[in-house]
């Protein structure tokens, strides 16, 4: 019977033991991961994404305290282990599942993996195909999120971006676009930054993604044609605003761009706001 106290105790002990085993496994994994990371950092090879222990590749990340910077969770598989890099999963840009939050320090690592993956494809056409595969791997964007406040301004394609802070203080992103190539860029951005710490979101620069060397990235300048650059800026701006709100600080004043409407001329403009945010990024 369930109400049997002895049974409860046994269950309790079993639970405790299971938990202990689990946390033991976790600790073991942490140690293994740390060792792998340590060896990677100590011996920087040409392919920093190479992992000697294949077991670690598929291990889901455990949540860690932000301070344990030595711990890394390797989620991205090495492109060397993918026999057919031009086709199909596993992809570095597959978006992280929503119930998993990555430990600290991941974005740069993921970005490096993404850059390696694209660099391993010598034909521009293969890089385009990879980008489109990234687009296909982006999780479906909730219809409720398709609101004007989530639009990222740019004049060639429509982009929606949702930004939230989770209970651990990490930034959660979702994105969508009606252009497949733009969607591919959004997938790359989301895969790098979803689950990142706010400061990690803010420290990335658009130039860091230039190393992907994929179609649509010839324009280095800050231009409205550079949609994915606008997306990154938008991620950063909204991150700052959400964090400011959490901390009870007033967020930055919007840039006084004008909207000429039937009701009058008013200050607005998320693109202009993104512009001023990016220029005051260092001080913000």
């Amino acid at each position: 019977a369930r109400s049997d106290p002895w049974r409860k105790k046994k269950e309790g002990r079993e639970e405790t033991r299971a938990k202990a085993e689990q946390s033991g496994r976790e600790r073991e994994m942490v140690v293994m991961e740390a060792a792998a990371i340590g060896s990677r950092f100590l011996n920087p090879g040409p392919n920093p994404n190479s992992i000697t222990n294949p077991v670690l590749r598929a291990v889901p990340c455990r949540r860690r305290q932000p301070r344990l910077l030595a711990v890394r969770c390797v989620q991205t598989p090495s492109p060397r282990h993918n026999p057919n890099p031009a086709r199909g999963p596993p992809l570095s840009c597959s978006a992280v599942a929503s119930d998993q939050a990555a430990p600290a320090g991941i974005p740069r690592h993921r970005l490096a993996g993404l850059v390696d993956e694209f660099r391993s494809l010598s034909e521009p056409l293969d890089r385009v195909k990879r980008l489109l595969a990234c687009a296909a791997s982006l999780p479906a964007f909730p219809e409720a999120g398709r609101v004007p406040a989530n639009r990222v301004m740019g004049c060639t394609a429509q982009v929606w971006l949702s930004v939230a802070v989770d209970e651990l203080g990490r930034m959660r992103f979702a994105a969508d676009s009606d252009s497949e190539i733009t969607k591919g860029f959004c997938a790359c951005l989301v895969s790098v930054l979803d689950g990142a710490l706010p400061e990690e979101v803010l420290e990335l620069r658009p130039e860091d993604f230039g190393d992907l060397n994929v179609v649509g990235l010839p324009v280095k300048a800050h231009s409205r044609i550079n949609t994915w650059h606008n997306v990154l800026i938008s991620m950063q701006k909204r991150t700052k605003a959400l964090i400011a709100k959490r901390e009870g600080r007033p967020s930055l004043d919007p840039f006084p761009s004008l909207v000429i409407g039937a009701d009058g001329i008013e200050a607005k403009g998320s693109y202009a706001e993104a512009q001023v945010s990016s220029s005051s990024n260092k001080s913000g």
Binding site: P124, L125, T156, S179, E180, I260, I265
Partner: protein, 492 residues
């Protein structure tokens, strides 16, 4: 190092054959889809081109700049298209993009400049640069003469009655703003109506939104027919005694359609309204005669008509310009300046504050010389041919919709097509065309968001041609487009 070039994949064309003036092969060209022919200019085809200060550009060190024309059999000579003949004048068109010869189909955004214009710009800065209307010394006199001569050239080009009816501005956008802030603010009152079409460029809409906010005037829009052209019956119906200004394009930069300006002018004047015509897509491509049209204001940009960026012009009837207050204040536009007031100069100086884009205006004059040497009628005739060819070629692509009217005996389209392919975003098409084929087209809303909303889309792709483009390029574009569509339909 020189090489003979020929069109390997084009259907047997009597127009194209190896010539004495040769291109050096560009080493980056790894996959030429088709190769350009450098054609020697046939002197009798372009009578005055050589006098426009042009020197034939030459990449091969062995041939002379002013090479004598190749002796061609006469029937072959005549069958070369205007595009083939004029291409050598445009050095920028010879480049290789992403391993492919550039196919530049974004002329509605901006045009390329012939060597004749570039040489004049260079010559200005090398020999007579000086501020205009401001000095008595030799260089200043030379520059002023050249600048004012450019004004006369523009006036002649559009058949203005008086050279003072041409005001140089930065571009057509600034010219419209000039009319809005100067004529609009002093002539529009609460309840007055401004009539526009939904197909107007943003530059012809936004200044009037701003001015109507300030004055209380109302904007009214003419929608499209099911043939996707502005509804002229609706336009006639919307004209009333309250209409003070009609703002219309001559040629639409998206639809490719042409409005009957002479009729619209008559209807507008009948109700006492003035009319401003946005001629950005017409002046570069056809004869535009402001006397015949009877317009009150007309604007155009230099950079769309083989001239440099940074200069455009406003044509306004002299009696209108004379009654208008200044737009920008500063030097040149004043007569006397005291501490608490100033008196203003006569037009056009009244509207040209500050040092103008002198070299650029002179460059525009050179562009007009170049275009005139070909003759606008000849350019227009060739572009009608190109336009039909482009339209019908695009019709051969499945699941593709072209916006605007279908061409016919009575309906002439401009040599541009905005289109959408089912299920593929125009940005994806344009990006792939560039990356994988070196073809430059435009994607987006082409500064016409209200029009796209009226068409029920967010964006479109646009290929726009000019007289230096060829049917062979259209073939290459169609091939590239089909390849692009195949790629996206198989990958998605």
């Amino acid at each position: 190092m020189a090489a003979l070039c020929h069109f390997p994949s084009a259907p047997a064309s009597p127009r194209l054959f190896p010539l004495s003036r040769l291109l050096s092969p560009v080493s980056r060209a790894s996959k030429p889809q088709y190769l350009l022919i450098a054609a020697s200019r046939i002197e009798n085809s372009i009578p005055n081109a050589s006098t426009a200060g042009s020197r034939l550009r030459c990449f091969s060190s062995s041939s002379n700049a002013a090479a004598s024309p190749v002796a061609l059999p006469s029937d072959e000579r005549e069958s070369r298209s205007l595009g083939d003949i004029t291409r050598p004048d445009f050095p920028i068109l010879r480049q290789v993009v992403n391993g492919f010869n550039l196919v530049y189909f974004d002329n509605a955004a901006t045009s390329q400049k012939p060597s004749a214009v570039l040489d004049v710009l260079n010559e200005y800065y090398e020999t007579c640069n000086s501020n205009v209307h401001r000095g008595v010394h030799y260089l200043s006199a030379k520059a002023t003469d050249a600048y004012e001569e450019a004004r006369t050239k523009v006036a002649t080009f559009v058949n203005a009655m008086d050279r003072r009816e041409i005001v140089f501005t930065r571009n057509a956008t600034e010219a419209i703003n000039l009319v809005a802030y100067s004529w609009g603010l002093s002539n529009l009152r609460s309840g007055d109506e401004i009539l526009l079409t939904v197909a107007e460029h943003h530059s012809a809409i936004v200044p009037w939104q701003i001015v109507s906010k300030k004055t209380g005037a109302i904007l009214k829009y003419v929608g499209l027919t099911k043939e996707e052209v502005p509804d002229l019956d609706l336009l006639k119906g919307l004209l009333s005694k309250n209409t003070k200004l009609v703002v219309v394009h001559h040629v639409s930069n998206v639809l490719g359609s042409v409005l009957p300006i002479d009729d619209i002018v008559v209807w507008s004047h009948n109700v006492g309204a003035k009319i401003l015509v946005d001629a950005c897509q017409s002046v570069p491509h056809m004869i535009v005669d402001v006397q015949k049209l009877g317009v009150d204001f007309l604007v155009a940009s230099s950079h769309k008509m083989c001239g440099p960026t940074g200069v455009g012009f406003l044509y306004g009837k002299i009696e209108l310009l004379s009654s208008m207050p200044p737009f920008l204040g500063g030097g040149e536009m004043i007569s006397d300046v005291f501490q608490d007031y100033s008196t203003y100069a006569e037009p056009p100086s009244r509207f040209e504050a500050g040092t103008p884009a002198i070299g650029e205006a002179i460059g525009l004059g050179a562009a007009i010389d170049y275009l005139s040497s070909i003759s606008m009628q000849r350019i227009h005739n060739y572009e009608v041919e190109l336009s039909n060819y482009l339209y019908h070629s695009l019709c051969s692509v499945p699941n593709l919709h072209i916006y605007g009217p279908a061409p016919s005996e009575t309906v002439h389209r401009a040599a541009l097509c905005s289109f959408n392919v089912e299920k593929i975003h125009p940005t994806d098409i344009a990006t792939f065309l560039d990356e994988q084929h070196g073809v430059a087209i435009r994607s987006g809303h082409h500064c016409a968001q209200p029009l796209h909303r009226a068409l029920g889309v967010t964006s479109s792709a646009r290929a726009s041609l000019y007289f230096y483009n060829t049917k062979e390029e259209v073939d290459a574009f169609i091939q590239a487009l089909k390849d692009t569509i195949d790629f996206f339909t198989s990958t998605l």
